[in-house]
Each structure stands twice: as structure tokens, then as C-alpha cells.
Amino acid sequence: MNLEDYSWIVLLLPLAAAAVITLFTQRHGKLSAQISIAAVATSFLLSLFLLITLRETSHAISAINWLAIGNLKVEIGLHLDHLSLLMLLIVTGVGGAIHVYSWGYMQADRCVSRYFASLSLFTFSMLGIVLANNFVMMFIFWELVGVSSYLLIGFWYEKASAADAAKKAFITNRLGDFGFLLGIILIWATLGSVEFDALKTTLAAHPAALGSMAGVAGLLIFCGCMGKSAQFPLHVWLPDAMEGPTPVSALIHAATMVAAGVYMLCRVFFLYEATPAWPECLAFLNGITALNIISWIGGFTALLAALIAVQQNDIKRILAYSTLSQLGSMVMAVGLAAPGAGMFHLTTHAFFKALLFLGAGSVIHALHHAQDIWKMGGLKKKMPVTFWTFLVGTLALCGVPPFSGFYSKDAILAAAADPVHGNVGLFILAVLVAALTTFYMFRLIFVAFLGPVKDHAVDHALESPGIMIWPLRLLAVPSVLAGFWGLEQFIGGAFGETAHALSWHEEIFAPLNHSPLAALFGLFATMVGLGAAWQLYAKAVKDPLPEKLGLLARAMRNRFYFDEIYRVLIAITHELLSRLANWFDRWIVAGLMVRGTHGTTELFGRALRLAQTGNLQTYAFLFAAGVVLVLWFVLGR
């Protein structure tokens, strides 16, 4: 057995756990949880082992042929390189912490087994995306992730809002996936392969191999990312997905699933290095590349979500919009030709956002499912561990040095300030987003954890049990340290950058040496945000912003009316389409085709009936006439 073949075990263990739970241990919640946790923990240890042993080799592949039709060859193959090894660790590591936490959080629920089966299925699908070595396999797992997220968001399906949110997430994702599938087919049609390595080699040898379809292919593939990573205009599903249990929000909507889109972009980044070109009908796009569009979509999503987050009051929704905003930053980084920075931020974000969500879950658990931050306050004294870990997550998210977020955010800012690929507009946008991030996160901290007590439910709040606290502590460690572990260099290895090893104390100050402008602007933004939040919310009992900003605040609170706009738009298109279909059915199908057939038949029948006189001699005459006709036809002509 080769070393890389162990990755099969990593992949299949969670699937086995899901199967065992569904088939055998439905009635034993505790056993199901143990199976699920054991599977993901084993996967984690194996991934760690693989990471350590395969770190030096650039990549390894272990594959079996799955199907071959004509010149379409599809393998089920596992691709191990720096990128996928790192993602493996995130998925199984953060996922593992969340599995453990879930056991504490979900204990009281009746359907724990179903929950853990879905969770294991999700882990399996996510690992499949990470390890896939070709587009088709990635797409299969991509859809599996969609299904398992549907199951998890709609876990409390008795609740109408949860069921709706699950449907919304699934359908919105499908929209993006449709573009993704088209992109895959386009790439296969033009390059004749779906395998990442083969494609990469082809494109490296002939950068113009995609011809005029390069830009379109890039954008279609990006559609997949748009759905999974919730980029504008498909961002609407992510906040609603918070209807699921909080650990699910942490797992899916912070650490893994939404990261899949960014990961995929990094995985196929070679596509975007092809010579940019547009087909004739899109000639107006000449001069800008697919990457430019991607970066602006990412930047716009980041700003939009950050603005919305400022006026949300539900603790999970704030985090959801913050996730959206951070995902926008990552996509922007990829669009700025710095996939390494995007991936770096993805990694650190996975740690601290999972931490934040689990912290929020701990609060919600303690307050018996109250989620409005204006009904909290003073939780610092009641729940010290939750508070301190939450604060660590917040500081990391806001990019306060030396927390991990500072380094990854700085990498993105540096990418935006880069003289070759960078863009001043996007740099300003990113700085603005950083300031807003700090503002809304500290608004949350001040209102929910510090500040005056606003509701008597807080008086009865107790710190959560150990099984929920320990994952928080565990996640807090990488949230602090991930910035100077050498992650950036490690990821850089996947994109062929030359790694220059720095010692950890050099790395702490690396951003300042590398791009002092970006680092200083980032720090400045953080301080502005923090100052503003302190000014407005340190002692606030109710939100002062609506009075000051008026209409704008209302628009922010209502998520800029995107859901409403979509509802109206969909209603209109739906109405139009159904009217069209109705017209078509009524006139073409029922009118022309059904009635037409019946009418012609009847007409002919009526006409022929005239010939049936019942008179023998008429028949004899017609018969004779027929014979004469035939004779003339055969002989006479």
C-alpha cells in the first residue's frame, strides 16, 4: 500500500460512519455521535500523518478508472498536494472540533443520529471536493455537499423557516452549479480533458489553447464558486442558512462548505492564467479579464455584506454576514491573482469563524435559544470562557496583530496594493471593509458581552458544559497562532512560489517588512472601526444608528431589500413564463395539435361517410371505376 493510498481511508471513513449510523444505530444517539466523532478524528490523524510525510513531495495522485466513453475519461482519483493537504486538515480538524461540540449542543434533540449521519455525510462530500483530481469528480462531490447541507440546514424541518431556508440554499446553489457544469463541459469540449493535471500541462504549454472561450470558461467555472461561496448575486442563501443548528452554521457556513468555492478557484487557478480572450458577441469585455470581474464581484460582496452586518441584531446573522464579507475578500484576493492570499485567509478564517460561531452557539444555548443581541449584555461575567474565546475570534477577524487574521488580511491588502495585479479601487474597498468588520464585531462584543444587562434571561445564564467549551479553547489556539506558522509559505508552494523560510519571530513582523503600506492601512482601519464602535455602543441600551443614519440604516437592516427584490423579480418572471406556457399549451398543444388531429380525422370521416350510400349499385359502380382507374394507371400510362 502506497503512502498516498491512505488518503482513501481519510475520504471513506466518514462515509462509512454515515452508512453505519443510518443503517444500524438510528436509535442510539450517543453511539451514533461516538461513531461519527471517531471517524472524523481518525481522518484528522491520518491527514496529519499524510501532511507530515508528504510535505516535501509536491504532489501525489492515487486514482482508479471510473468510466471511459470515447475520449472522455473520468477517474475517481485523489490529488494530494499542499493545497488539498491543508484543506484536509481544516475540514477534519475544524470539523472534528465541531463534531465534538455538536454532541454537547445537540444532546437534548430527539434525532441526534440523523444529525450525526448528515454531518458525516457532509464531511465525506467535503473531503471529496478537496481531494478530487478532476472536474467531474469534483462536481459530483460538489452536489453531494449541496445535498448534505440541505439536510443539515433543514434539520429542524418541522419549522417552516428552516425547511424554506434549506430549499433556498439548495436552489440558489443549483443556479450556480448549472453554470459550473456548463463550464466543465466547455472546458472538456475545447481541451478534451477534465483532469486538473492534464489541463494544467496543456494550458502551461499553450496558454491560448482555450481560444476565445477563455474568459467565458473562467466565468462559468466561477459560477460554481458564486453559488457555494455565496457571492453576489447568489449571496442570499447564506444568512437564511442560519436556521440550521448552530454547529452546522459553524461547520458549513464558516469553515468548510462556503470555503469550497474559494478552494475550487485556487485549485483551477491555472485556468485564469490562460491568455484572456472573449468571443465575438462579448467583444465589449475586451481589455478586462475574467479575474477582474471576479475580483470586483468579490469586493462588492465584501462591502455589501459588511454594510448589512452593521445593522443586524441576530447574533448568528451578524456572523453570517461577516462570513459573506470575508468570503468576498477571499474571492477578491483570487481575482487579484493572489490565490495564495485567498487560501491563507480561508485557513485562518476557518479557525476563527468556527470559533465565533461555536461561541455564539454557546451563548444561544445558555440563553435558551435567544439570538437577539439587544436581549443580552453583561455575559462576560456569566460566561467567561465563552467571552474570552469569542474575543480572541473577534480580534482575529478584525485583524489585530498578532492574531492570525491580521496576517491573512494583510496578505489580501498587499495583493490589492500590488503594483502589477493590484487595483487602487479595490484596495480602498478592502480597507473600508476591514474598518466595517471591526465596527460590527465590536458592536456585537459591546452589546452582547460587555455593556449593561438588557434582559433578565441573562441572570440565569450559565457557562456551557465542558464538551462545548473545550472545542472553543482548541480553536482559539490556531486562531491566535495560525498567522506565523509558515502557512503562507506552505500554501505558496502549491502555486509554485519560492518559499523562503522565516523563523517565527521574523514572521510576526513580516507584513510590516513585506508591504508596510498595506499593513499600516489595515491597522488604521481596525482602529477606526474599534473607536467608532466604542463611541457608539460601549454603554448603549438601544441602537443609536437608526436615528443617525435614518433611511440608510433601515436599508441595511433589511439587507438592502435583496430578498424582496428577488421575490418580486421571480414573481414577475414566473408569471411571464407561466403565461407563455399557458398560451402555448392552450393554443399550440391543445388547440393546434390535439384539436387539430381530432378535427382533421373527423372531417375526413364525415367526407368519406358521404360515399357510404348503402346502395349496392353505387358500390358496384365505384368498384368498377376503381378497377378502371387501376388499369389505366398500370397499362395506360
Binding site: 350510400t613 348503402g614 346502395n615 349496392l616 358496384a620 368498377a624
Partner: protein, 101 residues
């Protein structure tokens, strides 16, 4: 005058046409029936003529068969007409229109 094949055939055709005309035009069933026999015999005449002029007896053998079958057919047909007449008290085709829907 030398009688050739074409003369026989002309007679045969004339007989056949007369028979057909009778079948189509006449109203009495019995007369129609006789016209039918006329057509059969026109065919017989043509067969015999061909047989004679081709020095091949097959046609004449065929004619014997036709005469035999025709005799049988006449008996059945007449029986039917008699039965019909008893039932309808008429042997005119205008009265026999039950085949019309």
C-alpha cells in the same frame, strides 16, 4: 372472313361491358344476377379464346372450373334472393339499404 383472336376478345369485352352496365343500371336483383352471369361468361369466352389460340388447354380446364363454381354460386345466390324476397316482399335494390349507417 377469317375469325381471329381479336374478334373473340371483342365479343368478350362487349359481353363484359353489357354485364357490368346491367349490374350498375338495373334495379331488379334477379336481372342484376343475370348480368353477373353474363360477365362470368364473357370471361369464360376470353379464356377459351386464349386457350385455343395459344394451343394450351389450361384455359379450357379453368373454364370448366368456373362453370362448376358458377353453378354452385347461382344456387346459393338464388336461395338468398328468395329468402330476401320472402322477408322484404321486394327484389328491388332501392329497398335494400340497411348497409347505410
Amino acid at each position: 372472313m377469317n375469325v381471329g383472336l381479336e374478334h373473340y376478345l371483342l365479343v368478350s369485352a362487349a359481353l363484359f361491358s353489357l354485364g357490368l352496365l346491367g349490374v350498375i343500371m338495373r334495379r331488379n336483383l334477379l336481372v342484376i344476377y343475370m348480368s353477373l352471369e353474363l360477365m362470368l361468361n364473357a370471361a369464360n369466352l376470353a379464356l377459351v379464346a386464349f386457350s385455343r389460340f395459344n394451343n394450351n388447354l389450361d384455359g379450357q380446364v379453368m373454364v370448366f372450373f368456373i362453370i362448376t363454381v358458377a353453378a354452385a354460386e347461382v344456387s346459393v345466390g338464388l336461395a338468398l334472393i328468395v329468402a330476401l324476397y320472402r322477408k322484404r316482399a321486394s327484389a328491388h335494390v332501392e329497398d335494400l339499404t340497411t348497409m347505410k349507417l
